[in-house]
Symmetry: C2
């Protein structure tokens, strides 16, 4: 194989490639990636990497002198290429599996691996599909990814559940057992049975989100019960879906809430940060004391001191108080972008809805804490 | 004690205070700091903290309602104050050792410690002194601190050695045994015997450098054989000096060098970064191959590949080659600010001088590596 690429395009592609590559090093072959020329295609080459769960296939413009394919360490190539200075990078492989990379006055010689040993990613025709704008996709990921579980304790919660609603929209849903996040979004060309649902892993959504602007305007999402592909521009992600059943969260979302509080989102964030800063616990519990027109926020009474703050609140009912982990409140307040947010609940022990006052499509539910101070 | 301060000034002072505070938590009392009003002084209060080795005493404008002093946890106060939003911060202590801090609608209540338990920093009249501009002080620290030792293996190398030269300038010198850095700088009002030398600890110089812009235009440095004080504006640092003798480095600085190479500093940095990026060793050894007009840089030949690069060099002599840890070269190239740098040595096994082509006051020496590839 012999080809020439633009250094900037190469560097940006390698960053995506390297981000997918398995960092655990339990399977050494997965520390590599593949460059491959395609039959009948003279101006683009295919870069691909996989960790078995998630694969990336990205096309990049190249001047191809001799077709072929190579498999080489992703991190090493990325680390060196990001230091290079010249415009063009020339890559050539020898029969002895050496890769020669030259750029300006710099010359690299790297050992490579038989391409046949690397698991090849095959993009498939899949039965279900939908088209979504890149902005909508980014929004749906942002509004749900934060509430997924990050440890391995419950594999079915380590991703976002996607299903379709009765009115042919998509529903994106995540929960870690203490809180949930849900957004409803209209998409185009949806072919998705109403009784079906898939669970998209965190890592896939994180990588899709990170590279989203490279998709262009829209992304075509195709899937079956096993795998999902995100395709747009020159980029394709393919991920295995999480097996298992997502819990039915509908009973947790409280209906007919009698208590409604509206507060300015930024003031609420500032107050929570001030009050929670005294806490040494990871989730930083706080107490909200709500009365007509006022939301008072109190830290726990710890050995190292206590903090209270208050902000204006739109509230007309009887005074009451409710406890939360401030970390959960701050997570959802960080993704909402309206000026005000609304809290809805029934009483001081009921799950509480936190949502934007401007966007009915999103809601988040947080379980309250029993506060004993 | 009761007083009101501006939040921004408080926040900036607390950052300095907190930076001096002992993080090791082996002596819990040192996690605190002290605020103290001064007799006959109605518009400024004194903030101070110490880790026994290094102390900071900073004055800050305040509206004093009731004089007194408090001793309170530095990190907690810093963490909370940086989240506050309003302009004024009001601090009040009670007889039960509670500290009340209010800012806008935020109220904190923190426990405090008897001020008498905290080691008080006393600024002293010291026999030796000099006056240096803040820019010169920053420069002297930048040009030497990088070559000090960071582990505890040789305590006398964990700082910068300061002495005076025969022509009444100061000499700042550091070494870690593999390299050294030296800068000569004229100062004002120098009273420093020619046979004397002091070793200023890393941490003191790091903190003085970080806070340097708060000193104003000039810094007065006073010292004896035990301690050194840096005073300027509203800030005073006092540090113990490192006991022990600094090694005589003069024999290591090679004289009468016959080989001289001049290279563009940025090109040299770029090439070193490209070539060293293949290495997995911490210090990243490289080989410099020098011939007329050309400097070629080669990585070691490792399992994971090899890199070479070359740049233009001003050199007229016989070809030769010499090995270095690229980390040491990059450290000194990062602090030099001239367009070109000059390397001077005798042969491929001799210590090598690296210096600016524009500033004769600075030099660095790096020991070569035996390169066996």
């Amino acid at each position: 194989m012999e080809l020439t690429l633009k250094r900037e395009a190469l560097s940006s592609t390698l960053q995506n490639i390297n981000s997918v590559v398995d960092k655990s090093s339990t399977k050494p072959i997965l520390s590599n990636f593949v460059i491959r020329t395609m039959e009948g295609e003279n101006s683009e080459v295919e870069f691909s990497s996989t960790d078995y769960e998630l694969s990336l296939v990205e096309l990049i413009v190249a001047e191809i002198k001799e077709p072929g394919s190579i498999c080489v360490n992703a991190k090493k190539v990325f680390d060196i290429v990001k230091e290079l200075q010249d415009e063009d990078v020339h890559i050539r492989s020898t029969e002895q599996l050496w890769i020669h990379i030259t750029c300006g006055s710099s010359e690299l010689r790297l050992p490579s691996v038989e391409v046949g040993l690397y698991p090849q990613t095959v993009l498939e025709e899949l039965p279900q599909s939908m088209t979504i704008s890149v902005d909508d996709l980014k929004h749906c990921i942002d509004m749900t990814l934060f509430a997924t579980i990050t440890n391995e304790s419950r594999r079915n919660l380590m991703g976002v559940c996607l299903c379709s609603t009765s009115d042919q929209q998509t529903r994106w849903l995540s929960t870690d057992g203490h809180r949930l996040a849900q957004i409803i979004k209209a998409v185009d060309n949806l072919s998705f049975g109403e009784d079906q649902e898939v669970i998209i892993p965190r890592k896939a959504l994180t990588e899709v989100r990170r590279a989203a602007d490279l998709f262009g305007e829209t992304v075509i999402i195709t899937f079956d019960g096993r795998v999902m592909q995100f395709t747009g521009g020159r980029i394709n992600f393919k991920t295995r879906l999480i097996e298992g059943k997502f819990p039915n969260c509908d009973p947790i979302i409280p209906k007919n809430n009698t208590l409604e509080i509206v507060v300015n989102r930024e003031n609420f964030i500032n107050s929570l940060r001030i009050v929670s800063s005294i806490s040494t616990e990871k989730l930083r519990p706080v107490k909200l004391i709500i009365s007509q027109g006022v939301l008072k926020i109190e830290s726990e009474k710890a050995d190292y001191g206590e903090v209270v703050d208050e902000i204006e609140a739109g509230y007309e009912g009887e005074p009451f108080q409710i406890g939360f982990n401030s970390r959960y409140l701050l997570d959802v307040l960080a993704v909402i972008d309206s000026e005000d947010v609304k809290l809805e609940c029934k009483n001081s022990m009921s799950p509480t809805i936190i949502k934007s006052t401007a966007d009915e499509a999103f809601l988040s539910v947080i379980m309250p804490l029993r506060v004993e101070w």
